[in-house]
């Protein structure tokens, strides 16, 4: 089952400029692993060398931060699930 992942503008250069991609997987963690396998350039932008999500990037399942979910990365993704990647941006001027 494919889950929709919304890609923010700063990361689109690493996903062939796609704003959303459909990735297979049964849990949030599996979908994310498959995402960075398909788009390998994304990996270093999202994860540290020891595989931790970087501190300036958040991943949401629907409207909830995955880190706040009881099952975290193991949370199953339902039919209608949307995963959002939301990096820190600073522009204002």
């Amino acid at each position: 089952m494919a889950t929709k992942i919304l890609i923010p503008a700063p990361l689109r250069p690493y996903t062939d400029n796609l704003e959303a991609v459909e990735i297979e997987g049964s849990s949030v963690g599996e979908v994310m692993r498959n995402l960075v396998t398909r788009y390998s350039e994304l990996k270093r932008h999202l994860y540290t060398e020891d595989g931790k999500l970087r501190n300036f990037v958040n991943v949401y399942l629907n409207d909830e931060d995955v880190r706040n979910l009881a099952q975290g990365d193991d949370t199953p993704v339902g039919e209608e699930a949307v995963i959002s990647i939301v990096p820190a941006i600073a522009g204002g001027w």
Binding site: P8, A9, P10, P13, E19, E41, H45, R54, N55, F56, N58, Y60, D63, E64, D65, R67, N68, S84, V86, P87, A88, I89, A90, G91, G92, W93
Partner: protein
Amino acid sequence: MLNLDTSQVTLSREEMERFSRHLILPEVGLEGQKRLKAGKVLCIGTGGLGSPLLLYLAAAGVGRIGIVDFDVVDVSNLQRQVIHGTSWVGKPKVESAKNRILEINPYCQVDVYNTALKADNALELFANYDVIVDGTDNFPTRYLVNDACVLTGKPNVYGSIFRFEGQATVFNYEGGPNYRDLYPEPPPPGLVPSCAEGGVLGILPGIIGLIQATETVKILLGIGTTLSGRLLLYDALKMSFRELKLRKNPDTPPITRLIDYEQFCGIPQARAEEQAEIPEITVDELKAWMDAGKDFVLVDVRNPNEWELGRIPGAHLIPLPQIENGDGVEQVRRLLNGSELVVHCKSGVRSAKALKILKAAGIEGKNLRGGILAWAEAYDPSIPKY
């Protein structure tokens, strides 16, 4: 609800007429308008976000507005920084903004701080205001604004933009989360391009800035439900708003004092590393190489739309994304064929990135310090400073 003392606040007949559309709203009324007049708002930055929000805060009748900015109005600001006009180019932004605010609402007291917000002036400045609005454009200042708000107990009305997308929320309000709960650490310098490097749709900060103005007015009035605990995401191209939940993170270390934010954001380290790693060439040296007919290849890593605005003679366009995906590296290798390499972009950030990637692929080169902007300044006034 903010504790605002309205006991000494009066509205003149002219003010009653001016704010009559507020006065007839039951949610605002005379007491609400007095709260706005008693309210003191400090806006950090009078750029893309600060410009629209200051116009509306002034018009709404906020009694005292402080503005912090060290910059002068540049012609490239006018595409989005709507508080500033053409006749103010070259003059301090805070003066330009004050002039416009008083034109809109002469009853407003405007405090101008023609200075950069720093760890040694932030707490003192914030102490005099009820609400802080973050309209800055860089990570060090955003963490500084956040931490100073936490330490002084002020709500932080946050907005930030990138190209066609924006984020807005309210931090540190009534026990809600702050910026460090959302992002404990900033990205390394250069990873996320600034508006100057990445571009921004001029209208975008208008939308986000006015969301900030709305939240500020609601906080002063004590009405409605603020964005505290919610991160609003806006996408101008899709014209969509989405909302994500934002919670306090129990692992966020408590903020006890202000720190060195440039250091925290890795800026001096990155600068030193880059200089050690990537040799530079000045525009004067480049000109001398050209005049001497030296054998070298000049690569421009900007985007094709920037290339259309102007270029350095003899440059080859190979945009950074192509170098990042590997194709560009091979193009550079083919071009070089034994010659020396100089790489440039708009101001030197992206070219340094390109040179790092090239170096990893065994290709050494020099970074043109200051990019095409420095070249335009010194040798080619026909190239627009964009």
